[in-house]
Amino acid sequence: MGIIVNSNTRVLIQGITGKQGSFHTKFMLEYGTQILAGVTPGKKGEKVHGVPVFNTVHEAVEAFPEINSSLMFVPAPYVADAVYEAIDSGIKLIVIISERVPIHDSIQFINYAKQKNCLVIGPNCPGIITPPSTKLGIMPNHLFKAGNIGLVSRSGTLTYEIAYKLLKNSLGISTAVGIGGDPIIGTDFIEIYDYFLKDKSTSAVVLVGEIGGDMEERFSDFYNSLKNKKPVVAFVAGRSAPEGKRMGHAGAIISMGMGSAKSKVEKFKEVGIPVADRPDEIPILLKSLLNK
């Protein structure tokens, strides 16, 4: 159960021999993720924590036709090519961890992926995890235990913080998705929430937004228009952020008078979504919604 990834997910790691790729491959294997192969051009024949490495995605998929997902640690300048390679090899889920991918590259490969019915998560994201045993990402394993809370977030470490708060309050996670901190990302709140609606193992959703853009506002309108919904608790990072400054994430910027935390918090409340002022309020709000 859970959304998008589960025990049937068979994973390819693009950029597996790099420092990040090999480091996280180890922890994903420990968590139980089924990683079948890796790709790094020129490194064919090597093994990374027992996982065979190929030069091209086509070779990897030929050797392991079960592969249905790719997780990417490729350096930013090469991400676009790696995404096209994965899509053209028939892979239907691509999770991009890499940071600082040029926006014009993202626009193009995300539009291409859509035409080919391929789901892209990221770039600049921590990945996706369905406890107890499927992780395509870089989250700390011990914080993610199975349960009935869906978690979707624009941020990385803040997602782990919230998983930690849930864990401490005996709440577990159905699936947690980091959708990424860039202005242009493959999958947004609305699309992930839609998956959660259809997922029997998810009873409520925590939505972690931040300053920049209007994804939170658009989600609120979408939520408001639904007949059948699952309860949502929201959190918005960046209430103290100044206008016109990028706060770490490329997408976290209040610009042209748009994207402030205030506007997002107000909009959530307007459509009846409770908003936590502090991370430690999230489990409290969740419990009160679940007990209704």
């Binding site: 600082r100 926006i103 014009h104 997602t159 901190g181 931040e210 209430r239 103290s240 100044p242 430690d280």
Partner: protein
């Protein structure tokens, strides 16, 4: 990265977008030597990156040489919202019948470039969008087909003009070629002769694409403060705020939330500083040093949730900074995750309080800084 108007005008010239005749001058003499290329009345425009220069007195019209001398002298060296004016543009004032607006932006929602055209120019487009949304037309550009003639015809019909083809195609050329987040002409002037002329130029380039934009990759970003430039060199992101409690966190979202919590408990965050994922002792040392150096900062709150970042590395960096820089400020650390026990033990030897919960730690730093 935001470009100065004169840099944006250079790119518009390259794209053959018609501009009112202009020159740029870095100093008074240069302005006076070259202005004769232009006809009066001449507009003198401060070159700054902050918005609202007109209201701040950074744009003036000169009808003769006397007025020109005065305006150039006044505007050069002016300070607009904390930014020093180092150069001015002199441009021929156009005979304007009507002010319009045209831009191409990166649209997060459709994940595509978007043409924005407005019947009302010379004002904030956001204001028009709020007040008179019917005056704005939006056209999504499929990145695989680009700007097509039919889009040009739609814009022309909407704006009741007939000659925007080369401008729109030129804008898209610039947008693609220089990997922009925004290319904007506001206002786009319709002159008395029914010609279209750009009388301002605004361009924002995607920072992530700078590595392959030879023209701009070595340009030092003058938008950044002294410490912001240092931080960029060391490889972490730092944004200056006006408060007195220094903030260090790992991850953008967690660091923002750390600032928010300090503010929630009544404190004033002095900065945003994200050491990123997997930071080693050296990065932490450099980060903390930047904050320790600043007198305005009275206390520092370090918030680490260790994953790929190891708490013992963070502790080692903190200790090095304390040893080398001395401590004249309150420091509160919140630290959980990878090698947490080791990190806590190391810091305890230096009498630094370590907390498990960020809410408790935030309250503590606020109490420490403001109680005296």
């Amino acid at each position: 990265m935001k470009l100065y108007e004169y840099e944006a005008r250079d790119l518009f010239d390259e794209a053959k977008i018609p501009l009112n005749k202009w020159i740029v001058a870095k100093n008074y003499d240069e302005a006076m030597n070259n202005y004769k290329l232009l006809k009066f009345p001449i507009v003198v425009k401060a070159q700054v990156l902050v918005g609202g220069r007109g209201k701040a007195g950074g744009v003036k019209i000169a009808n003769n040489e006397e007025e020109l001398k005065m305006h150039v002298k006044n505007i050069l060296g002016m300070n607009i919202k904390g930014e020093k004016v180092n150069s001015v543009i002199l441009a021929e004032a156009a005979q304007i019948k009507k002010e319009l607006y045209i831009s191409i932006i990166v649209d997060r929602n459709s994940r595509s470039p978007l043409i924005l055209a407005s019947k009302e120019g010379g004002v904030d487009i956001e204001e028009v969008a709020k007040k008179d949304p019917h005056k704005i037309m939006k056209i999504k550009i499929d990145p695989f087909i680009g700007v097509r003639d039919y889009m040009v015809r739609r814009v022309e019909s909407f704006l009741s003009i007939s000659n925007i083809n080369s401008i729109l195609k030129g804008l898209y050329f610039t947008f693609k070629n220089y990997e922009c987040e925004l290319v904007e002409i506001n206002p786009l002037a319709l002159t008395d002769n029914d010609e279209l002329v750009a009388i301002d130029a605004k361009i924002v380039i995607d920072d992530s694409a700078l590595f392959r934009l030879n023209k701009f990759k070595n340009r030092i970003s003058s938008e950044l403060s002294y410490y912001e430039n240092i931080a960029r060199k060391y490889g972490f992101s730092y944004v200056e705020q006006e408060g007195d409690i220094g903030i260090i966190g790992n991850g953008a979202g967690l660091t923002m939330t750390t600032m928010d919590l300090v503010q929630y408990y009544g404190g004033r965050p002095a900065n945003f500083l994200d050491i990123g994922g997997g930071a080693d002792a050296e990065i932490v040392y450099n980060a903390l040093s930047i904050l320790l150096e600043q007198d305005r900062i009275k206390g520092i709150f370090i918030n680490i949730l260790g994953g790929i970042t190891r708490c013992d590395e963070v502790a080692a960096g903190i200790i090095k900074a304390i040893k080398n820089k001395g401590v004249n400020k309150n420091i509160v650390v919140r630290m959980i995750g990878t090698n947490e026990e080791m990190g806590k033990k190391m810091l305890k030897e230096y009498n630094i309080d370590v907390f498990d919960e960020m809410e408790v730690a935030a309250k503590e730093i606020v109490n420490l800084v403001y109680k005296n």
